[in-house]
Symmetry: C2
Subunit: 325 residues, 2 copies
Amino acid sequence: MNEQQAIKPYVIGLDLGGTNSVFGIVDSRGEIKATTAIKTQGYDKVEDYVAASVEALQIIIDQVGGIEKIKAMGIGAPNANYYKGTIEHATNLSWGRGIVPLADMFSKALGIPVGMTNDANAAAIGEQAYGAARGMKNFIVITLGTGVGSGIVVNGQLLYGHDGFAGELGHVTMVREGGRPCGCGRTGCLEAYCSATGVARTARELLASTDRPSLLRELNPDQITSLDVSIAAGKGDEMANEIFQFTGKMLGEACADFAAFSSPEAFIFFGGLVKAGELIMKPIREAYNNHVMPIFRGKAQFLVSGLDGSSAAVLGASAIGWEIN
Amino acid sequence: MNEQQAIKPYVIGLDLGGTNSVFGIVDSRGEIKATTAIKTQGYDKVEDYVAASVEALQIIIDQVGGIEKIKAMGIGAPNANYYKGTIEHATNLSWGRGIVPLADMFSKALGIPVGMTNDANAAAIGEQAYGAARGMKNFIVITLGTGVGSGIVVNGQLLYGHDGFAGELGHVTMVREGGRPCGCGRTGCLEAYCSATGVARTARELLASTDRPSLLRELNPDQITSLDVSIAAGKGDEMANEIFQFTGKMLGEACADFAAFSSPEAFIFFGGLVKAGELIMKPIREAYNNHVMPIFRGKAQFLVSGLDGSSAAVLGASAIGWEIN
């Protein structure tokens, strides 16, 4: 522990999700000392959201000895611009239209530095600070949730690009002709196939296009989730296993392209879909080894997140606090 | 000019090609003060190659005032390992089998620091030092020659990855099913379509698979080059124009994926194929704008190399000399 950490041993992390805003006060080893939460929605104005946040935060700040014990705050949020500390055009947040200078607002309200980045970048910083990427300087975190996100670390630094928006690996094109529509407005993106919703969609397509038996036929097709597919695969269901094979193969082929870009020492997978374990990790590794350029073969590790699932997003956000001044 | 540049105002660049090894002594503005060359091949032992190089170099070193005027040497070479200063398994060089510590050998022979990287990375450093990327911190140089190479700069630094081999963008997979064989042993790579040899191959395939008239039919198919296609396109030949459309479209789609990775402010194209000018640049830009994620649209510039063609490779190699200590 260095001198500054002895004086200010904590950072605040905010995982700003579409439904809940979860706050944690975290020490340098990634231990969460106190936590609280408010609803993200229901505020017309961002000022009201920040005021409600600070009110909830004050209680846990007092628990750890007051604001003078806290070095900084990190926010992981959708549509976050790291360079400007703004949330931009987050139309799914009631107070998120236009350009919202959220980092500045929290900084003024709390009197500490505040940094902000998107969820996947926060996950990457969290893995580096407390998780599976400790000591690594070149790695890629791929988040498999509602969407597919990524945080890319090169030379020890998160890759932001010239505008702050680099690392959108969920939106490389994997199917160039006749690909699935993607939420980004284009077609064939990795996210359209390999997110949790993509996996459910693969299941619905397979069920509709074949007569093959499957445990998944017992479910309402419109309500099938990636968890249902995972459970069926765990019971040995052939179609469910095939869905994970298909998903993992595409992810492994995508990672082979990513290796040609930044040659990371590890790919770290994070998010709900990772709970399927070897069902998804094995086909990822196999497809990677079959498709990667020979010069990179056998060099990269394939890891699952080293952060505790329920608090991973808060930990990731908090880690931004150690990075800023 | 800083103090060190006043004392040691020059660097040596070596463009180590399969046929010729071209040396230049370069000042900080990218002006070549003296140049010489030897044949790359014909030496059984690397010691003999280095001795012949130093003998040729001594003459131009004396021309600029002696070795004490020279800060360092940079080498751009195939199969170069930046981290180790070695050439690895360059089976097409008579003295290049195994692992050759070429940077160390030149450093001992000349008494100055020597750095080495591959040709495309050297081009990227050259563009940053003297060319189209001056002042840029995030850009990608794509070399379109016998192969497709790339040098990626992020946060002002060349991206080497954990093993020194990052930035092999010629080997992302663009055609996932039934793609062309590539020199790397896989299929469907960008390089198999968009290198100069890929363009010639596209021409041969189109000529063989259709009866359409074309100026290219006047040539021996086996000897068609990308320059022939460029000349025919310049005369308004429809098939030749279609070949550039096809090539540029694939490059533009690839760049759209690269934007999702590192969000560069510019893509800079370098090498023989770039001489086709707007014939290739226009379809690249169009395909990029049609395929890139909306968040990146309209942000990146598409530039051609700012380095003088005949000396670009030497300039790029020399620029490594400014980077090392």
